[in-house]
Protein backbone atom coordinates (compact mmCIF):
# COMPACT_ATOMS: atom_id res chain seq x y z
CA UNK A 1 0.00 0.00 0.00
CA UNK A 2 2.87 2.34 0.68
CA UNK A 3 2.99 3.70 -2.81
CA UNK A 4 3.24 7.32 -1.83
CA UNK A 5 0.50 8.28 -4.26
CA UNK A 6 -1.43 11.18 -2.75
CA UNK A 7 -4.97 10.06 -2.26
CA UNK A 8 -6.13 13.49 -1.26
CA UNK A 9 -7.92 15.79 -3.64
CA UNK A 10 -6.44 19.30 -3.92
CA UNK A 11 -8.98 20.79 -1.50
CA UNK A 12 -7.97 18.29 1.14
CA UNK A 13 -4.35 18.97 0.49
CA UNK A 14 -4.88 22.66 1.10
CA UNK A 15 -6.62 21.89 4.36
CA UNK A 16 -3.83 19.63 5.39
CA UNK A 17 -1.34 22.41 4.66
CA UNK A 18 -3.31 24.72 6.93
CA UNK A 19 -3.34 22.07 9.61
CA UNK A 20 0.40 21.63 9.14
CA UNK A 21 0.89 25.34 9.70
CA UNK A 22 -1.38 25.36 12.73
CA UNK A 23 0.54 22.39 14.07
CA UNK A 24 3.88 24.10 13.64
CA UNK A 25 2.54 27.27 15.21
CA UNK A 26 1.22 25.37 18.19
CA UNK A 27 4.50 23.51 18.59
CA UNK A 28 6.30 26.84 18.67
CA UNK A 29 3.79 28.30 21.12
CA UNK A 30 4.14 25.38 23.53
CA UNK A 31 7.92 25.50 23.31
CA UNK A 32 7.97 29.25 23.91
CA UNK A 33 5.97 28.80 27.12
CA UNK A 34 8.76 26.63 28.52
CA UNK A 35 11.34 29.06 27.20
CA UNK A 36 9.62 31.96 29.01
CA UNK A 37 9.92 30.09 32.31
CA UNK A 38 13.58 29.31 31.68
CA UNK A 39 14.31 32.88 30.63
CA UNK A 40 12.74 34.37 33.74
CA UNK A 41 14.87 32.05 35.84
CA UNK A 42 17.91 33.16 33.89
CA UNK A 43 17.05 36.86 34.26
CA UNK A 44 16.52 36.42 38.00
CA UNK A 45 19.84 34.66 38.51
CA UNK A 46 21.81 37.08 36.34
CA UNK A 47 20.24 40.10 38.06
CA UNK A 48 20.96 38.75 41.54
CA UNK A 49 24.54 37.80 40.67
CA UNK A 50 25.28 41.08 38.93
CA UNK A 51 24.07 43.17 41.85
CA UNK A 52 25.09 40.91 44.71
CA UNK A 53 28.60 39.68 43.85
CA UNK A 54 30.47 42.99 44.43
CA UNK A 55 29.55 43.13 48.11
CA UNK A 56 29.91 39.44 48.80
CA UNK A 57 33.05 38.91 50.87
CA UNK A 58 34.21 37.40 54.14
CA UNK A 59 33.35 40.57 56.01
CA UNK A 60 29.73 40.34 54.76
CA UNK A 61 29.41 36.81 56.10
CA UNK A 62 30.91 37.62 59.49
CA UNK A 63 29.36 41.00 60.34
CA UNK A 64 26.17 41.84 62.15
CA UNK A 65 23.52 43.92 60.38
CA UNK A 66 24.11 47.65 60.49
CA UNK A 67 22.50 50.97 59.66
CA UNK A 68 25.28 51.44 57.14
CA UNK A 69 24.97 49.11 54.15
CA UNK A 70 28.75 49.05 53.66
CA UNK A 71 29.29 47.50 57.10
CA UNK A 72 26.21 45.30 57.24
CA UNK A 73 26.50 41.53 57.21
CA UNK A 74 24.55 38.36 57.71
CA UNK A 75 26.31 36.74 60.67
CA UNK A 76 23.22 36.62 62.88
CA UNK A 77 20.96 35.57 60.00
CA UNK A 78 23.26 32.69 59.05
CA UNK A 79 23.44 31.52 62.66
CA UNK A 80 19.66 31.78 63.00
CA UNK A 81 19.10 29.82 59.80
CA UNK A 82 21.48 27.08 60.99
CA UNK A 83 19.72 26.90 64.38
CA UNK A 84 16.30 26.85 62.77
CA UNK A 85 17.25 24.14 60.30
CA UNK A 86 18.71 21.87 62.95
CA UNK A 87 15.74 22.21 65.30
CA UNK A 88 13.22 21.88 62.46
CA UNK A 89 14.89 18.65 61.38
CA UNK A 90 14.68 17.32 64.93
CA UNK A 91 10.94 18.12 65.07
CA UNK A 92 9.84 17.11 61.64
CA UNK A 93 11.96 14.12 60.61
CA UNK A 94 10.82 11.60 63.25
CA UNK A 95 7.22 12.82 63.11
CA UNK A 96 7.07 12.76 59.34
CA UNK A 97 8.71 9.37 58.86
CA UNK A 98 6.69 7.92 61.76
CA UNK A 99 3.43 9.10 60.22
CA UNK A 100 4.41 7.72 56.82
CA UNK A 101 5.31 4.34 58.29
CA UNK A 102 2.06 4.22 60.19
CA UNK A 103 0.04 5.11 57.09
CA UNK A 104 1.82 2.70 54.76
CA UNK A 105 2.68 -0.26 56.98
CA UNK A 106 0.35 -0.25 59.98
CA UNK A 107 -2.87 1.64 59.40
CA UNK A 108 -6.02 -0.40 58.86
CA UNK A 109 -8.20 0.57 55.91
CA UNK A 110 -10.96 2.44 57.67
CA UNK A 111 -12.54 5.88 57.94
CA UNK A 112 -9.97 7.08 60.45
CA UNK A 113 -7.03 6.36 58.17
CA UNK A 114 -8.86 8.07 55.32
CA UNK A 115 -9.43 11.07 57.55
CA UNK A 116 -5.72 11.30 58.42
CA UNK A 117 -4.78 11.08 54.71
CA UNK A 118 -7.30 13.73 53.71
CA UNK A 119 -6.14 15.89 56.59
CA UNK A 120 -2.52 15.72 55.43
CA UNK A 121 -3.52 16.65 51.88
CA UNK A 122 -5.47 19.60 53.27
CA UNK A 123 -2.65 20.72 55.57
CA UNK A 124 -0.27 20.75 52.60
CA UNK A 125 -2.38 23.53 51.11
CA UNK A 126 -2.67 25.77 54.18
CA UNK A 127 -0.69 29.00 53.59
CA UNK A 128 2.50 29.40 55.59
CA UNK A 129 1.31 32.61 57.18
CA UNK A 130 -1.63 30.76 58.77
CA UNK A 131 0.85 28.36 60.38
CA UNK A 132 2.45 31.53 61.70
CA UNK A 133 -0.79 32.41 63.49
CA UNK A 134 -0.90 28.89 64.94
CA UNK A 135 2.67 29.30 66.18
CA UNK A 136 1.88 32.72 67.62
CA UNK A 137 -1.16 31.53 69.55
CA UNK A 138 0.10 28.07 70.52
CA UNK A 139 3.88 28.14 70.94
CA UNK A 140 4.61 31.80 71.66
CA UNK A 141 1.64 32.63 73.91
CA UNK A 142 0.06 29.45 75.24
CA UNK A 143 3.21 27.37 75.79
CA UNK A 144 5.13 30.51 76.69
CA UNK A 145 8.14 29.73 74.50
CA UNK A 146 8.49 33.40 73.57
CA UNK A 147 9.81 34.56 70.22
CA UNK A 148 12.72 32.16 70.26
CA UNK A 149 14.24 29.73 67.78
CA UNK A 150 12.31 26.82 69.28
CA UNK A 151 8.91 28.43 68.65
CA UNK A 152 10.05 29.17 65.08
CA UNK A 153 11.29 25.62 64.51
CA UNK A 154 8.09 24.07 65.83
CA UNK A 155 6.01 26.33 63.57
CA UNK A 156 8.08 25.71 60.45
CA UNK A 157 8.36 22.03 61.40
CA UNK A 158 4.59 21.63 61.29
CA UNK A 159 4.50 23.63 58.05
CA UNK A 160 6.83 21.24 56.19
CA UNK A 161 5.57 18.09 57.89
CA UNK A 162 3.20 17.16 55.00
CA UNK A 163 6.14 17.36 52.57
CA UNK A 164 8.15 14.85 54.62
CA UNK A 165 5.14 12.57 55.08
CA UNK A 166 4.16 12.47 51.40
CA UNK A 167 7.74 11.93 50.18
CA UNK A 168 8.32 9.18 52.74
CA UNK A 169 5.02 7.53 51.83
CA UNK A 170 6.06 7.43 48.18
CA UNK A 171 9.45 5.98 49.08
CA UNK A 172 7.82 3.27 51.24
CA UNK A 173 5.29 2.45 48.54
CA UNK A 174 8.10 1.91 46.04
CA UNK A 175 9.51 -0.95 48.14
CA UNK A 176 8.22 -4.16 46.54
CA UNK A 177 5.92 -6.37 48.59
CA UNK A 178 8.09 -9.41 47.96
CA UNK A 179 10.68 -7.95 50.35
CA UNK A 180 8.05 -7.65 53.06
CA UNK A 181 6.82 -11.17 52.50
CA UNK A 182 10.39 -12.44 52.51
CA UNK A 183 10.97 -10.87 55.92
CA UNK A 184 7.73 -12.32 57.28
CA UNK A 185 8.65 -15.73 55.90
CA UNK A 186 11.83 -15.60 57.95
CA UNK A 187 9.73 -15.04 61.05
CA UNK A 188 10.20 -11.28 61.45
CA UNK A 189 7.64 -9.29 63.41
CA UNK A 190 6.04 -6.34 61.68
CA UNK A 191 8.42 -3.85 63.31
CA UNK A 192 11.46 -6.01 62.53
CA UNK A 193 10.27 -6.17 58.94
CA UNK A 194 9.82 -2.38 58.77
CA UNK A 195 13.02 -1.43 60.57
CA UNK A 196 15.25 -4.11 59.06
CA UNK A 197 13.98 -4.40 55.50
CA UNK A 198 11.59 -1.70 54.36
CA UNK A 199 13.18 1.40 55.91
CA UNK A 200 16.72 0.76 54.63
CA UNK A 201 15.38 0.24 51.11
CA UNK A 202 13.24 3.35 51.28
CA UNK A 203 15.95 5.49 52.86
CA UNK A 204 17.22 7.29 49.74
CA UNK A 205 13.70 8.42 48.85
CA UNK A 206 12.97 9.47 52.40
CA UNK A 207 16.22 11.45 52.64
CA UNK A 208 15.39 13.25 49.42
CA UNK A 209 12.02 14.21 50.89
CA UNK A 210 13.63 15.43 54.10
CA UNK A 211 16.10 17.63 52.24
CA UNK A 212 13.28 18.96 50.09
CA UNK A 213 11.28 19.85 53.20
CA UNK A 214 14.27 21.46 54.90
CA UNK A 215 15.07 23.53 51.85
CA UNK A 216 11.51 24.79 51.93
CA UNK A 217 11.92 25.50 55.65
CA UNK A 218 14.99 27.70 55.27
CA UNK A 219 13.30 29.79 52.58
CA UNK A 220 10.26 30.63 54.72
CA UNK A 221 9.87 34.14 56.07
CA UNK A 222 6.14 34.75 56.53
CA UNK A 223 5.37 32.32 59.40
CA UNK A 224 8.46 33.48 61.27
CA UNK A 225 7.45 37.13 60.94
CA UNK A 226 4.06 36.21 62.41
CA UNK A 227 5.57 34.58 65.48
CA UNK A 228 7.61 37.73 65.94
CA UNK A 229 11.11 36.80 64.78
CA UNK A 230 13.16 39.97 64.85
CA UNK A 231 14.32 41.84 61.79
CA UNK A 232 17.37 43.43 63.38
CA UNK A 233 19.52 41.10 65.48
CA UNK A 234 23.03 42.01 66.56
CA UNK A 235 23.79 38.90 68.62
CA UNK A 236 23.84 35.13 68.14
CA UNK A 237 21.18 32.88 69.71
CA UNK A 238 22.78 30.76 72.46
CA UNK A 239 19.78 28.70 73.61
CA UNK A 240 16.66 27.52 71.76
CA UNK A 241 14.65 30.21 73.55
CA UNK A 242 16.75 33.16 72.36
CA UNK A 243 15.39 35.64 69.81
CA UNK A 244 16.69 35.14 66.30
CA UNK A 245 16.47 36.16 62.68
CA UNK A 246 16.95 34.12 59.51
CA UNK A 247 18.28 34.85 56.03
CA UNK A 248 14.87 35.35 54.34
CA UNK A 249 13.79 37.84 57.01
CA UNK A 250 17.09 39.70 56.74
CA UNK A 251 16.61 39.84 52.96
CA UNK A 252 13.02 41.06 53.40
CA UNK A 253 14.22 43.74 55.80
CA UNK A 254 16.83 45.03 53.38
CA UNK A 255 14.55 44.88 50.33
CA UNK A 256 11.85 46.86 52.15
CA UNK A 257 14.20 49.79 52.75
CA UNK A 258 14.07 52.66 50.29
CA UNK A 259 17.84 53.07 49.87
CA UNK A 260 19.14 51.21 46.78
CA UNK A 261 22.38 50.37 48.62
CA UNK A 262 20.38 48.02 50.85
CA UNK A 263 18.83 46.37 47.79
CA UNK A 264 22.34 45.51 46.63
CA UNK A 265 23.30 43.79 49.86
CA UNK A 266 19.91 42.04 49.78
CA UNK A 267 21.11 40.56 46.49
CA UNK A 268 24.33 39.44 48.19
CA UNK A 269 22.30 37.72 50.92
CA UNK A 270 20.10 36.10 48.27
CA UNK A 271 23.21 34.61 46.65
CA UNK A 272 24.19 33.09 50.00
CA UNK A 273 20.67 31.69 50.48
CA UNK A 274 20.61 30.19 46.98
CA UNK A 275 24.06 28.66 47.45
CA UNK A 276 22.91 27.03 50.69
CA UNK A 277 19.85 25.63 48.88
CA UNK A 278 22.01 24.41 46.00
CA UNK A 279 24.37 22.67 48.42
CA UNK A 280 21.51 20.94 50.22
CA UNK A 281 19.98 19.70 47.00
CA UNK A 282 23.33 18.45 45.71
CA UNK A 283 23.78 16.50 48.93
CA UNK A 284 20.33 14.96 48.47
CA UNK A 285 21.15 14.01 44.89
CA UNK A 286 24.49 12.54 45.95
CA UNK A 287 22.92 10.52 48.75
CA UNK A 288 20.27 9.18 46.44
CA UNK A 289 22.74 8.10 43.78
CA UNK A 290 25.06 6.57 46.34
CA UNK A 291 22.42 4.44 48.01
CA UNK A 292 20.40 3.60 44.97
CA UNK A 293 23.29 1.82 43.32
CA UNK A 294 23.47 -0.70 46.15
CA UNK A 295 19.85 -1.77 46.12
CA UNK A 296 18.46 -3.03 42.87
CA UNK A 297 15.62 -5.38 42.33
Amino acid sequence: MATGIPLAVPLRRRRSLVSLAVGAFFHGLALSAVVVGVMVLGALLVDVLRKGIPHLDWQFLTSYPSRFPQQAGIKSALAGTAWLMALTAVVTVPLGIGTAIWLEEYAPRNWFTRLVRLNIATLAGVPGIVYGLLGLALFVRWMGLGRGVLAGALTVGLLVLPTVIVASQEALRAVPDSLRQGAYALGATRWQMVAGVVLPSALPGILTGVVLALSRAIGEAAPLIMIGALTFVAFLPKTPLDPFTVLPIQIFNWVSRPQPAFHLIAASAIIVLLVVLLLMNSIALWLRNRYQRKTEW
Partner: protein
Protein backbone atom coordinates in the same frame (compact mmCIF):
# COMPACT_ATOMS: atom_id res chain seq x y z
CA UNK B 1 5.60 0.41 68.23
CA UNK B 2 2.35 0.66 66.32
CA UNK B 3 0.92 2.97 68.97
CA UNK B 4 3.93 5.25 68.84
CA UNK B 5 3.56 5.54 65.08
CA UNK B 6 -0.15 6.17 65.45
CA UNK B 7 0.75 9.04 67.79
CA UNK B 8 2.88 10.54 65.00
CA UNK B 9 -0.13 10.33 62.70
CA UNK B 10 -2.26 12.06 65.31
CA UNK B 11 0.04 15.10 65.29
CA UNK B 12 -1.27 16.08 61.86
CA UNK B 13 -4.85 15.91 63.13
CA UNK B 14 -3.85 17.94 66.18
CA UNK B 15 -2.23 20.52 63.91
CA UNK B 16 -5.50 21.03 62.07
CA UNK B 17 -7.37 21.23 65.34
CA UNK B 18 -4.81 23.72 66.65
CA UNK B 19 -5.12 25.92 63.56
CA UNK B 20 -8.90 25.93 63.78
CA UNK B 21 -8.85 26.63 67.52
CA UNK B 22 -6.29 29.44 67.28
CA UNK B 23 -8.11 31.12 64.39
CA UNK B 24 -11.62 30.77 65.75
CA UNK B 25 -11.00 31.58 69.41
CA UNK B 26 -9.39 34.94 68.62
CA UNK B 27 -11.80 35.68 65.76
CA UNK B 28 -14.78 35.20 68.08
CA UNK B 29 -13.31 37.85 70.39
CA UNK B 30 -12.79 40.12 67.40
CA UNK B 31 -16.33 39.71 66.11
CA UNK B 32 -17.68 40.55 69.55
CA UNK B 33 -16.31 44.05 69.06
CA UNK B 34 -16.80 44.37 65.32
CA UNK B 35 -19.88 42.86 63.77
CA UNK B 36 -19.42 40.38 60.91
CA UNK B 37 -21.65 42.57 58.77
CA UNK B 38 -19.29 45.52 59.22
CA UNK B 39 -16.31 43.28 58.50
CA UNK B 40 -17.81 42.05 55.23
CA UNK B 41 -19.47 45.21 53.93
CA UNK B 42 -17.47 48.26 55.00
CA UNK B 43 -15.38 49.66 52.20
CA UNK B 44 -12.39 50.81 54.21
CA UNK B 45 -9.75 48.96 56.20
CA UNK B 46 -8.02 51.26 58.69
CA UNK B 47 -7.68 49.33 61.97
CA UNK B 48 -4.34 50.97 62.74
CA UNK B 49 -5.64 54.55 62.39
CA UNK B 50 -7.40 56.73 64.91
CA UNK B 51 -10.61 56.54 62.94
CA UNK B 52 -11.00 52.79 62.64
CA UNK B 53 -12.79 50.97 59.85
CA UNK B 54 -12.89 47.21 59.63
CA UNK B 55 -14.05 46.44 56.09
CA UNK B 56 -12.11 43.48 54.73
CA UNK B 57 -13.17 44.23 51.13
CA UNK B 58 -10.10 46.32 50.19
CA UNK B 59 -7.79 43.55 51.42
CA UNK B 60 -9.90 40.91 49.68
CA UNK B 61 -9.89 42.85 46.41
CA UNK B 62 -6.10 43.23 46.65
CA UNK B 63 -5.74 39.49 47.14
CA UNK B 64 -8.16 38.78 44.30
CA UNK B 65 -6.39 41.18 41.93
CA UNK B 66 -2.88 39.79 42.46
CA UNK B 67 -4.25 36.24 42.28
CA UNK B 68 -6.03 36.95 38.98
CA UNK B 69 -2.88 38.43 37.44
CA UNK B 70 -0.83 35.48 38.66
CA UNK B 71 -3.29 32.97 37.22
CA UNK B 72 -3.33 34.92 33.95
CA UNK B 73 0.37 34.09 33.69
CA UNK B 74 0.50 30.67 35.30
CA UNK B 75 -2.47 28.94 33.62
CA UNK B 76 -1.65 29.53 29.93
CA UNK B 77 2.11 29.20 30.36
CA UNK B 78 1.80 26.23 32.72
CA UNK B 79 -0.63 24.37 30.44
CA UNK B 80 1.42 25.02 27.32
CA UNK B 81 4.60 23.92 29.12
CA UNK B 82 2.86 20.75 30.24
CA UNK B 83 1.67 20.03 26.70
CA UNK B 84 5.16 20.66 25.35
CA UNK B 85 6.83 18.45 27.94
CA UNK B 86 4.36 15.58 27.67
CA UNK B 87 3.54 15.64 23.93
CA UNK B 88 6.34 17.35 22.03
CA UNK B 89 9.64 17.38 23.87
CA UNK B 90 12.24 14.82 22.82
CA UNK B 91 13.44 12.77 25.77
CA UNK B 92 16.73 14.65 26.04
CA UNK B 93 15.09 18.10 26.08
CA UNK B 94 12.59 16.89 28.66
CA UNK B 95 15.33 15.66 30.94
CA UNK B 96 16.89 19.14 30.95
CA UNK B 97 13.81 21.39 30.87
CA UNK B 98 11.75 19.70 33.57
CA UNK B 99 14.32 20.10 36.37
CA UNK B 100 14.94 23.70 35.28
CA UNK B 101 11.23 24.47 35.68
CA UNK B 102 11.29 22.74 39.04
CA UNK B 103 14.09 25.03 40.17
CA UNK B 104 11.62 27.89 39.72
CA UNK B 105 9.39 26.21 42.30
CA UNK B 106 12.25 25.85 44.77
CA UNK B 107 13.29 29.50 44.88
CA UNK B 108 12.24 31.15 48.16
CA UNK B 109 9.36 33.58 47.74
CA UNK B 110 11.29 36.44 49.32
CA UNK B 111 13.68 36.18 46.37
CA UNK B 112 10.76 36.56 43.97
CA UNK B 113 9.66 39.59 45.97
CA UNK B 114 13.10 41.12 45.49
CA UNK B 115 12.91 40.32 41.77
CA UNK B 116 9.45 41.89 41.40
CA UNK B 117 10.45 45.07 43.19
CA UNK B 118 13.94 45.69 41.83
CA UNK B 119 13.74 44.17 38.35
CA UNK B 120 10.23 43.68 36.97
CA UNK B 121 8.67 46.86 38.34
CA UNK B 122 11.41 49.21 37.05
CA UNK B 123 11.33 47.37 33.71
CA UNK B 124 7.57 47.84 33.34
CA UNK B 125 7.84 51.47 34.40
CA UNK B 126 10.53 52.17 31.88
CA UNK B 127 8.98 50.45 28.86
CA UNK B 128 5.21 50.23 29.31
CA UNK B 129 3.67 52.23 32.14
CA UNK B 130 5.78 55.27 33.03
CA UNK B 131 3.01 56.64 35.25
CA UNK B 132 2.86 53.51 37.41
CA UNK B 133 4.16 53.64 41.00
CA UNK B 134 7.11 51.54 42.18
CA UNK B 135 4.79 49.37 44.27
CA UNK B 136 1.99 47.92 42.17
CA UNK B 137 -0.20 44.87 41.86
CA UNK B 138 0.95 44.13 38.32
CA UNK B 139 4.61 43.30 38.91
CA UNK B 140 3.82 41.37 42.09
CA UNK B 141 1.12 39.38 40.26
CA UNK B 142 3.26 38.66 37.21
CA UNK B 143 6.15 37.37 39.29
CA UNK B 144 3.78 35.34 41.44
CA UNK B 145 2.48 33.79 38.22
CA UNK B 146 5.99 32.67 37.28
CA UNK B 147 6.43 31.22 40.76
CA UNK B 148 3.22 29.18 40.41
CA UNK B 149 3.87 28.16 36.79
CA UNK B 150 5.86 25.01 37.70
CA UNK B 151 3.05 23.86 39.99
CA UNK B 152 0.44 24.13 37.22
CA UNK B 153 2.79 22.62 34.69
CA UNK B 154 3.98 19.63 36.69
CA UNK B 155 0.54 18.68 38.05
CA UNK B 156 -1.02 19.03 34.57
CA UNK B 157 1.83 17.07 33.02
CA UNK B 158 1.27 14.25 35.49
CA UNK B 159 -2.37 14.16 34.45
CA UNK B 160 -1.43 14.14 30.75
CA UNK B 161 1.14 11.39 31.20
CA UNK B 162 -1.55 9.28 32.86
CA UNK B 163 -3.57 9.33 29.62
CA UNK B 164 -2.86 5.95 28.04
CA UNK B 165 -0.80 5.65 24.86
CA UNK B 166 -3.58 3.71 23.18
CA UNK B 167 -5.78 6.80 23.11
CA UNK B 168 -3.07 8.84 21.40
CA UNK B 169 -2.26 6.08 18.97
CA UNK B 170 -5.91 5.68 18.11
CA UNK B 171 -6.06 9.35 17.22
CA UNK B 172 -2.86 9.17 15.19
CA UNK B 173 -4.25 6.16 13.35
CA UNK B 174 -7.23 8.26 12.36
CA UNK B 175 -4.82 10.74 10.81
CA UNK B 176 -4.76 13.36 13.54
CA UNK B 177 -1.80 15.65 13.79
CA UNK B 178 0.19 16.12 16.94
CA UNK B 179 -1.50 19.36 18.01
CA UNK B 180 -4.90 17.80 17.36
CA UNK B 181 -4.00 14.85 19.55
CA UNK B 182 -2.74 17.17 22.25
CA UNK B 183 -5.72 19.53 22.22
CA UNK B 184 -8.61 17.21 21.37
CA UNK B 185 -7.59 13.90 22.92
CA UNK B 186 -5.03 14.38 25.68
CA UNK B 187 -6.31 17.68 27.06
CA UNK B 188 -9.95 16.53 27.50
CA UNK B 189 -8.85 13.17 28.86
CA UNK B 190 -6.63 14.88 31.45
CA UNK B 191 -9.13 17.62 32.22
CA UNK B 192 -9.91 16.63 35.82
CA UNK B 193 -6.22 16.66 36.71
CA UNK B 194 -5.74 20.00 34.98
CA UNK B 195 -8.72 21.65 36.68
CA UNK B 196 -7.47 20.34 39.99
CA UNK B 197 -4.00 21.75 39.28
CA UNK B 198 -5.49 25.17 38.57
CA UNK B 199 -7.60 25.12 41.74
CA UNK B 200 -4.62 24.15 43.90
CA UNK B 201 -2.59 26.89 42.22
CA UNK B 202 -5.30 29.45 43.03
CA UNK B 203 -5.16 28.42 46.69
CA UNK B 204 -1.40 28.85 46.59
CA UNK B 205 -1.68 32.31 45.04
CA UNK B 206 -4.27 33.46 47.58
CA UNK B 207 -1.96 32.57 50.46
CA UNK B 208 1.27 33.81 48.91
CA UNK B 209 2.81 36.36 51.21
CA UNK B 210 6.32 37.66 50.71
CA UNK B 211 6.03 38.71 47.05
CA UNK B 212 2.99 40.87 47.71
CA UNK B 213 4.34 42.14 51.04
CA UNK B 214 7.45 43.40 49.25
CA UNK B 215 6.19 44.50 45.84
CA UNK B 216 2.42 45.08 45.82
CA UNK B 217 2.30 48.04 48.20
CA UNK B 218 1.01 48.77 51.67
CA UNK B 219 -2.21 50.68 51.09
CA UNK B 220 -5.51 48.77 51.36
CA UNK B 221 -7.37 49.99 48.31
CA UNK B 222 -10.65 48.87 46.81
CA UNK B 223 -9.51 48.80 43.20
CA UNK B 224 -9.06 46.50 40.26
CA UNK B 225 -6.51 48.67 38.50
CA UNK B 226 -3.34 46.54 38.29
CA UNK B 227 -1.16 49.64 37.98
CA UNK B 228 -2.05 50.79 41.48
CA UNK B 229 -0.56 49.58 44.73
CA UNK B 230 -2.79 47.29 46.77
CA UNK B 231 -2.53 45.54 50.11
CA UNK B 232 -3.46 41.87 50.23
CA UNK B 233 -4.75 40.02 53.26
CA UNK B 234 -1.37 38.34 53.73
CA UNK B 235 0.54 41.61 53.32
CA UNK B 236 -1.61 43.20 56.01
CA UNK B 237 -0.81 40.33 58.36
CA UNK B 238 2.91 40.82 57.74
CA UNK B 239 2.57 44.54 58.37
CA UNK B 240 0.98 43.93 61.77
CA UNK B 241 3.32 41.03 62.53
CA UNK B 242 6.34 43.28 62.09
CA UNK B 243 5.09 45.77 64.65
CA UNK B 244 4.71 45.35 68.38
CA UNK B 245 1.22 44.08 68.86
CA UNK B 246 0.07 43.85 72.44
CA UNK B 247 -1.57 40.51 73.11
CA UNK B 248 -5.33 40.88 73.49
CA UNK B 249 -5.53 44.19 71.62
CA UNK B 250 -8.02 44.61 68.83
CA UNK B 251 -5.07 45.00 66.48
CA UNK B 252 -3.81 41.54 67.51
CA UNK B 253 -7.24 40.10 66.87
CA UNK B 254 -7.59 41.59 63.39
CA UNK B 255 -4.72 39.26 62.48
CA UNK B 256 -6.81 36.25 63.35
CA UNK B 257 -9.98 37.58 61.74
CA UNK B 258 -8.14 38.22 58.46
CA UNK B 259 -6.31 34.91 58.90
CA UNK B 260 -9.61 33.08 59.28
CA UNK B 261 -10.97 34.64 56.09
CA UNK B 262 -7.78 33.69 54.24
CA UNK B 263 -7.84 30.17 55.66
CA UNK B 264 -11.48 29.72 54.61
CA UNK B 265 -10.72 30.88 51.05
CA UNK B 266 -7.66 28.66 50.57
CA UNK B 267 -9.46 25.71 52.18
CA UNK B 268 -12.31 26.15 49.72
CA UNK B 269 -10.04 26.03 46.68
CA UNK B 270 -7.88 23.22 48.03
CA UNK B 271 -10.86 21.07 48.87
CA UNK B 272 -12.36 21.72 45.45
CA UNK B 273 -9.04 20.71 43.90
CA UNK B 274 -8.86 17.49 45.88
CA UNK B 275 -12.54 16.77 45.25
CA UNK B 276 -12.37 17.31 41.47
CA UNK B 277 -9.66 14.69 41.17
CA UNK B 278 -11.36 12.13 43.35
CA UNK B 279 -14.77 12.68 41.78
CA UNK B 280 -14.02 13.11 38.09
CA UNK B 281 -10.85 11.19 37.50
CA UNK B 282 -11.05 8.78 34.59
CA UNK B 283 -9.42 5.51 35.46
CA UNK B 284 -7.95 4.00 32.30
CA UNK B 285 -6.94 0.42 32.42
Amino acid sequence: MGLLLLACGLVSLLTTAGILYALLSESVLFFREVSILRFLTEREWTPLFVEKHFGVLPLASGTLLTTLIAMGVAVPLGLLSAIYLSEYAPERARRILKPVLEVLAGIPTVVYGYFALTFVSPLLREWLFPQMGVLNALSAGLVMGVMILPMVSSLSEDAMLAVPRALREGAYALGARRHQVALRVVLPAALSGIVSAVLLAVARALGETMIVAIAAGGQPRLTFNPLEGVQTMTAYMVQVGLGDMPHGSLEYRTLFAVGTALFALTLLFNSLGIWVVSRWRQEYR
